[in-house]
Amino acid sequence: MVVLRVLNHRELEAEIDFCVGDFIKIGDVIGLVTSIYQEEPEYIRYMGNLEKEEVKKFLPDVFKARRIAKCLLLCTENLEDVTKIPKVGDKVEKVEDEELRQIHYNGEFKIPYLIPLLEKVEIPIIRALILKIMEIIPEEKDLLEIILAEIEYSRMRGVEL
């Protein structure tokens, strides 16, 4: 599971088998899977339908689409801003719960990437992220509930019912 494309200093694409909302780690950079899409091999576009069926019979692997995850870089392991951007080919790992807890809760609870994240991703992803952190850091559940309520309320303010 490696970095396939670096889109900009905040976003990259990787071929991974994770879900939306999962935390990833590339070196000391922490990121979040924000969307997933399938990508078929380039040369299939140039084949006719008949050719495709023929080839598929003999070489089914060729037609297997790749699962691409779009990831947003959040911060470093020390919750600092990302200054060193990962390169294509860098190894992508999933961040386990225990490690995630250590990143966010080192003496005091911190989640500094949340506000910039609000501008980039949809509310359901944010909600899933907060609920996940609530689960791994239960002692900060009350605080996270307040943050979640404020995010949802601010979204409601922007909607004319």
Binding site: L79, E108, F109, K110, I111, P112, Y113, L114, I115, E140, D142, L143, E145, I146, I147, A149, E150, Y153
Partner: protein, 519 residues
């Protein structure tokens, strides 16, 4: 001197502006700050203070979670939440002759604001310094942790009167005690009379044993007059004073009384002599005579303080370096009002005589009167209303100063209240009293009035001629003990029970051995 804030913008009212400060404790509402304009320190008073940024309401939804923690968790710089938006009103720079002069140019945005130094405050706000001749040290500035004395000008208080208005239990008698102490200090040596309807001021006699009051042979004297010590001889009362005591006199009654009075003038007559003279003039069967003698019996003869033979001289009551406390607590309301009315009239006349050089009773020195529960004596239906109004209107010319103390200012006639040119107002909660103060006391701004319900015991708002600008103070500690302490009823009940339980134990009924039907 380091600035405490920077000007942000003008406020809604022309003489007000806003500034931003990180200060957390020094810049309280009512505090004095200044900016520099053409080399002059332009003094301003803080009227409002609010945080520059507020937390979203939801951040305050869980009392266990400090909203600052949420801010920190989100990595937001909490600095802006620690700033305060302060509104201040320009008073002006102080000129010895003109008082405060408003430069009419507000400070520009970004201009530095400084906390007024203690010396600046004293120089600008107080007309006198502590210990100076004619000074009254009532307390300290409320906003300052260090003790900045608040000094009133005795001469302006005695000539232009003062009032202490507060709800019950706010410490007004305590404050009056402080003022009485100050008036008896060597640098004032006042001739002081206290009308004390609750018997709270007897502790002032401790002054005689306190070293601070003695200097170079000066030693103040405090005399406590109980009900039996206060006597007014009928023959010493003026005709007007007697008519003032007798209600609803007809013209004929007044004419009869006037004639009898004229015929007895110069003699030391008794109330019986007066009634005999009236009967002698018009006959015992005359309806007016009967009405008049009934009134003399009811309102003069049966009044304990009116005596046929004994009489308190004014100079016994009032002399420089002496406080006379008239304890009115054992007197009926009528007696209190008659005494106050007669006494005030005599004092005013004695001062007028002394000033104009006319004959009669004389008081050659100014006097100061503290009148507790003033609403009893200064309401329109009170017997002493007219004389009190006269003293407040004209007393300044003759050196009769009055300090009215009341917990119900709305019951004091507004003509009288508005003549008290120095006001000390403590905690007032009653809306009617609040409104009355707003209307009667011109020198206090609306924003200062709003502070009144928030004051606690011993805190007061001082305004008026005796000080250059209204200030909030905490009253200084008394040197004598306070005679008006509230009773601790539960403790007294418990104490009583401990002493009396065994003595007064109800004997247990003996077992009834036989019933009446057993006989």
């Amino acid at each position: 001197m380091r600035p405490v804030g920077l000007v942000k913008a003008p406020a809604e009212i022309p003489h007000e502006f806003r500034f931003v400060t990180p200060d957390k404790k020094a810049l309280k509402t009512g505090e004095f700050v200044y900016y520099v304009h053409n080399g002059e320190k332009v003094i301003c008073r803080i009227t409002k203070r609010a945080p520059l940024r507020l937390y979203p309401d939801i951040y305050l939804s869980k009392p266990d979670i400090n909203p600052e923690r949420i801010i920190k968790a989100l990595g937001i710089n909490a600095g802006e939440f620690e700033l305060f938006d302060v509104k201040a009103g320009v008073m002006g720079y102080f000129d010895e002759i003109l008082g405060f002069v408003n430069p009419r140019i507000p400070p520009v945005p970004g201009q530095a604001i400084y906390l007024a130094e203690n010396d600046t405050i004293q120089e600008v706000l107080m007309k006198k310094r502590a210990g100076e001749v004619g000074s009254i040290h009532v307390g300290f500035l409320l906003n300052r942790e260090e003790e900045v004395p608040v000094i009133l000008d005795t001469s302006l208080i005695t000539s232009e009167h003062m009032c202490i208005l507060a709800s019950t239990g706010s410490g007004k008698s305590y404050l009056a005690g402080v003022i009485a102490e100050e008036l008896l200090r060597p640098y004032n040596s006042a001739a002081l009379l206290v009308l004390d309807p609750h018997g709270e001021y007897h502790t002032l006699n401790e002054i005689e044993g306190i070293e601070e009051f003695r200097i170079d042979g000066y030693s103040p004297n405090v005399r406590i007059f109980g009900k039996n010590d206060i006597k007014i001889r009928l023959s010493e009362l003026e005709y007007d004073e007697v008519t003032g005591m007798l209600p609803e006199l007809t013209d004929r009654m007044e004419a009869l009384l006037n004639r009898a009075y004229r015929e007895l003038k110069g003699m030391k007559f008794t109330s019986q002599d007066l009634m005999d003279k009236i009967i002698e003039i018009a006959g015992a069967d005359d309806v007016s005579v009967r009405g008049l003698t009934w009134r003399i019996n009811r309102y003069v003869k049966n009044v304990d303080i009116i005596d046929d033979f004994v009489h308190n001289e004014l100079k016994d009551l009032l002399k420089p370096g002496q406080a006379s406390v008239l304890q009115l607590n054992e007197m009926s309301d009528i007696e209190q009002q008659i005494l106050t009315s007669v006494l005030l009239k005599r004092i005013l006349n004695a001062r007028i005589n002394a000033e104009k050089g006319t004959t009669g009773e004389l008081l050659e020195y100014p006097v100061f009167l503290i009148i507790e529960e003033a609403h009893r004596f200064a309401s329109r239906d009170s017997r002493s209303y007219r004389v009190l109004r006269t003293i407040l209107a004209e007393g300044r010319k003759f050196g009769v100063g009055v300090c009215l103390i009341s917990q119900r200012p709305s019951k004091i006639d507004s003509d009288i209240l508005s003549q008290c040119m120095t006001q000390i107002i403590m905690r007032i909660v009653n809306p009617a009293d609040h409104e009355n103060i707003k209307n009667s006391v011109e020198s206090i701004g609306r924003e200062m009035i709003e502070e009144l319900p928030g004051l606690t015991k011993g805190q007061a708002l001082v305004a008026g001629v005796a000080i250059n600008s209204p200030v909030l103070i905490r009253v200084r500690k008394r040197l004598t003990s306070h005679g008006g302490l509230s009773k601790n009823a539960p403790q007294e009940w418990v104490d009583w029970m401990e002493i009396n339980t065994h003595e007064n134990e109800i004997p247990k009924r003996k077992k009834q051995e036989r019933l009446f039907w057993d006989a």
